[in-house]
């Protein structure tokens, strides 16, 4: 299956109630698959093509505020349009899943894959102090797995979860194992599990209000402090990464998503040369695996970050490392995927020989 299709099928199986989207390359297969699959007949899930990405994300807001499992998908320019809605969702503390099958920018850029939305994904994107929980798949299998995991985490923390993929993984075909169909939430489950949801004010409770507004500055600050406490909790519990060949590593590559796949090949090539290189692949970009990178910094002589961007994640790696070892960036932009031999060369030039 294609990565985009695997994500769509996995979303149905995760018990999603609603998908709201707008076409954009390279992720249009998500909605195409859903429309063709008629999930309304399978599970009762609704699929709606909105008039814009802005409308789509606000539909997600409305659905999430009802305690439903809702999601949207888009690609970089479309995700930029969604930022206002995402800020509202984060402010009102609503659970949802957002997929970004990223492409090169800025502006209309290109339809080819890129990783230049790291800052937007992990540092806010919209206005205000908020964080999304960001998952970065590096395979079609993870595209599928993260749909279900995304909902789980979104509801656990009442927070938007962003799946930051890219055009390569979205379009790539691989074998994938899918979970069994999970039932959609019943009305009873929504009432019990999300008692804050707007489902109609019954006599036995006060009215439920979903809003991000509080004009009282003291209350608004308290709300912000609560959000920050939640983000610290995520950092404590949800940091995910994969360490490949790191045990004896003298040099380290840090890369996620498509870059991590290519870097893994580069690690093999470098090890064939007798150079002990490891790969640290962040699976969550927020929370970022700061602690493990800090620990590896005491072990290795230098770190290369590989990103399909001008170097964005490198800032978080440098924050983790401090000035203990050299940290350099290698990347390609504009939709170009770096080759493993380019990564090997960069490791030699920038880290080992540098």
């Amino acid at each position: 299956m294609k990565g985009n299709e695997a994500f769509a099928e996995a979303a149905i199986r995760a018990g999603a109630d609603g998908y709201f989207g707008y076409p954009i390359t390279p992720q249009s297969e998500v909605m195409e698959y859903l429309m063709a699959e008629k999930p309304h007949e399978r599970t009762g899930m609704i699929v709606l093509q909105a008039e814009s990405e802005i409308a789509a994300i606000n539909m997600v807001y409305g659905g999430a505020a009802c305690g439903k499992r809702v999601l949207t998908s888009s690609s970089s320019p479309g995700v930029s349009l969604k930022q206002e809605g995402i800020s509202y969702i984060a402010g009102a503390e609503l659970p949802c899943v957002i997929l970004n099958v990223a492409r090169g920018g800025p502006g209309l850029g290109t339809i080819q894959p890129a990783q230049s939305d790291y800052f937007q994904s992990t540092k806010g994107g919209g206005h205000g102090d908020y964080k999304m929980l960001v998952l970065a798949p590096s395979s079609v299998q993870e595209m599928a797995d993260f749909a279900g995991l995304g909902f789980e985490l979104a509801f656990k923390y009442r927070n938007p979860v962003l799946i930051l993929s890219d055009g390569a993984i979205g379009q790539m075909m691989e074998k994938v194992e899918l979970d069994e169909q999970r039932p959609r939430f019943t009305d009873e489950e929504i009432k019990n599990n999300t008692p804050w949801a707007t489902t109609g004010k019954t006599k036995d409770r006060e009215r439920n209000i979903i809003t991000s507004l509080d004009l009282d500055s003291y209350k608004q600050e308290l709300h912000n402090l609560d959000l920050q406490a939640k983000y610290r909790e995520m950092e404590k519990n949800e940091t995910r990464y994969e360490a490949i060949s790191c045990d004896d590593a003298e040099y380290l590559i840090v890369a996620y998503g498509t870059s991590a796949r290519l870097s893994q090949k580069a690690v093999d090539l470098l090890r064939a040369e007798g150079i002990k290189v490891g790969l640290l692949r962040p699976i969550t970009l927020f929370p970022f695996p700061t602690a493990v990178i800090a620990k590896l910094a005491d072990q290795v002589k230098g770190i290369l970050t590989v990103e399909m961007s001008a170097g964005q994640m490198i800032e978080d790696v440098r924050l983790a490392v401090g000035c203990r070892v050299k940290v350099e960036h290698f990347g390609r932009m504009g939709g170009i995927i770096p080759s493993p031999t380019e990564i090997v060369d960069a490791m030699h030039k920038k880290i080992i020989g540098g």
Partner: protein, 257 residues
């Protein structure tokens, strides 16, 4: 004729009108004489009379009525500026058996949210849209709105709206009536007892339409903004009759039964 004391008269059996329990006891944040309060009350009275408080989800906009959820004793969501029809679309699609309405002002509905308004209406979402048109941005301090009349002064059209440079006022209600998804489109007012009664009938009809899955009902309420218009409440109602009504005539625009 027997005389009666005030105490004898003020007994529950003689009570004929009191504020509905579907309005909270919180004092409305609107300016004195603002039609928003009356419009809020009409909507809540209709929900009360239909007995659907426990099945209704309201969507508040950005604008003066951003805090509608403080006053309406029902489950509510506060939407991003202009996006209420998109939010309502999802709520209704996910809960087709519940009643869903948006409550929006002219800036929210007819400027920043034009796309969401037109498309929700065109899809024929089975919701009710309550549209308060007072021809001005009230909350931000009286700036020009999409519905500000030609020549009308506002803080961003201090010499009056010059149509040549500032564009024409948008009769979005007439536009919406053209769309096949709308079933009922009407324009009302709330400045006199007779108008309040008519508006309440219109709002009731709109929610009855939703009950029967008929499609989208759109109720515009032409209202005043005495603060923004820089008049007393009574003057603003008179000005509204003399100036707003000729441009935005009251009455049903589309009724598909």
């Amino acid at each position: 004729m027997a005389e009666i004391t005030k105490e004898e008269l003020r007994q529950p059996e003689n009570l004929i009108y009191k504020k509905t329990d579907l309005l909270t006891d919180k004092a409305l944040s609107y300016c004195p004489g603002c039609g928003h309060g009356t419009a809020h009350r009409i909507v809540m009275e209709v929900l009360d009379e239909m007995g659907i408080q426990d099945q209704t989800i309201g969507i508040a906009p950005v604008g003066c009525s951003v805090l509608a959820y403080e006053f309406m004793n029902i489950d509510m969501q506060q939407a991003a500026h202009g996006r209420a029809p998109a939010v309502a679309t999802a709520v209704k699609r996910l809960y087709p058996e519940k009643f869903v309405f948006t409550y929006q002002g002219d800036g929210d509905l007819a400027a920043i949210g034009t796309a969401e308004t037109i498309h929700a209406c065109n899809r024929g979402e089975n919701i009710v849209i309550i549209f308060i048109n007072n021809g001005i941005y009230g909350m931000t301090g009286g700036q020009m709105a999409p519905t500000t009349l030609p020549g009308m002064k506002s803080s961003t059209s201090p010499y009056g709206r010059d149509v040549a440079t500032m564009g024409n006022p948008l009769k979005i209600t007439e536009l919406i009536a053209q769309l096949p998804g709308t079933i009922y489109v009407t324009r009302q007012a709330v400045h006199t007892p007779a108008n309040v009664r008519k508006t309440k009938k219109a709002v009731r009809k709109a929610f009855e339409n939703q009950k029967l899955n008929k499609g989208l009902s759109f109720v515009e309420i032409v209202s005043n903004c005495n603060s923004g218009w820089k008049m007393t409440p009574r003057q603003s109602n008179e000005w509204m009759v003399d100036n707003m009504f000729p441009f935005y005539p009251l009455g049903d625009i589309k009724v598909n039964d």
